[in-house]
Amino acid sequence: MSQMSDAALVARAQRGSEEAFRQLVDAYKERLFAFVWKLLRNHHEAEDICQSAFVKAYESLDSYSSQYAFSTWLFTIAYRQCLNHLRKRKATGGELELAQIGSSEPEASETLAGTEDARRLREVVWGAVDGLSAAQRTAVLLFYREGKSCQEIGTILGIPAVTVKSHLHRAREKLRGVFETELTADFAALRRLNDSSLR
């Protein structure tokens, strides 16, 4: 959704238009859910957090400032709620290793080739991403998946942009370490994957 149409919809929603807010929900729900799901790795919890984030965004529309993109503001709300949820999960002793949760979730992608090499690459990649800290994982997802700048990610995480760069750098170092351990022997297959299966 373009910035201009976002601004127009938000302005209408601020004036009380529920239809305008519905359009914003429809525009961002998939992206927001994918982001939250990758942090929580639980379908129902992710839907609840997303719903709560949208309702919170609606309640706080008066405090939204157009100096930020609406997506940045929405993802900020969702991220804070994810953090609260993860803390509660940890406090009640119910936290599982994120990598375990991720591996128990059913695969839903229909876009990648179903080859063994593609599945292995995805397993390794998402296993490595799941092993990052919450801040590093969030920075990676927002930077590479949502195309957010370091400044915008800093706004969402509540940290300086230079810290975001540091998170990204450390995340890539960790990912590189995992790949060099897990995938060196599959390099030839990786070259083929990069060219065909991931398009």
Partner: protein, 212 residues
């Protein structure tokens, strides 16, 4: 450029931050070094998966409907206190007008038989016009609230709404002690607040938040 230097520039290359001669040197090294080619290919493949892999399960079909239902419920809850306070003020304005007409103005004074307000806005204007009685209502409400809080009694939500409208500052956490309003008759509460003999008006500067 050697491998150690090239490895340190991989991050910058992935971020598109290499430029000029540094970028040319990096590209030249990459072309002749299998190890750096491998590392770069793995990182590019990884980031491609992160950026484009749709591995999240599908969102429920009724997700938007559920969000909008929750939004609608929030709007209904937020409207209720405002309607209640508005209703209270209308009732207060009507009774106040009657009280002022009978006690201070008298039947012979001009404007004694004030007409009932036609609208909420008009009622508010008329209440504001009777400053002395307004101050008395304010004092009476403050006294009733202070008594309820001191005795540890729940404070009716309509009184809290009226306090808010009259700019009376309540202690923190008072909302948690409010009662449902169905059992309270706002007019009977108001009658109890209007004293038979007007006490000396409180010397409170205009526009200041009154404290209990």
């Amino acid at each position: 450029m050697n491998c150690r230097e090239a490895q340190q520039l991989i991050d910058a290359h992935l971020d598109g931050q290499l430029s000029g001669s540094l970028r040319l040197e990096f590209e030249a090294h990459r072309l002749r070094c299998a190890r750096c080619q491998q590392t770069l290919a793995m990182m590019e493949a990884c980031l491609h998966v992160v950026a484009s892999d749709r591995c999240a399960p599908p969102l429920s079909d009724d997700f938007t409907s559920r969000v909008m239902s929750a939004v609608g419920r929030r709007r209904a809850v937020r409207r209720r206190p405002l309607l209640l306070a508005g209703g209270m003020l209308s009732a207060a304005a009507a009774v106040l007008l009657l009280a002022v007409g009978l006690r201070l103005v008298g039947p012979s004074a001009p404007g004694a038989a004030d007409p009932s307000p036609d609208s909420f806005d008009l009622a508010v204007e008329r209440v504001d016009a009777y400053e002395a009685k307004y101050a008395q209502v304010l004092m009476a409400l403050r006294a009733r609230l202070a008594e309820a809080i001191r005795d540890g009694q729940p404070v009716p939500a309509d009184m809290v709404a009226m306090a808010d409208l009259l700019n009376i500052e309540l202690p923190a956490g008072i909302d948690g002690r409010t009662l449902e309003t169905a059992a309270n008759n706002p007019l009977s509460l108001l009658f109890g607040m209007v004293p038979a003999e007007p006490p000396a008006p409180a010397k409170t500067p205009d526009g200041e938040r009154h404290s209990l």
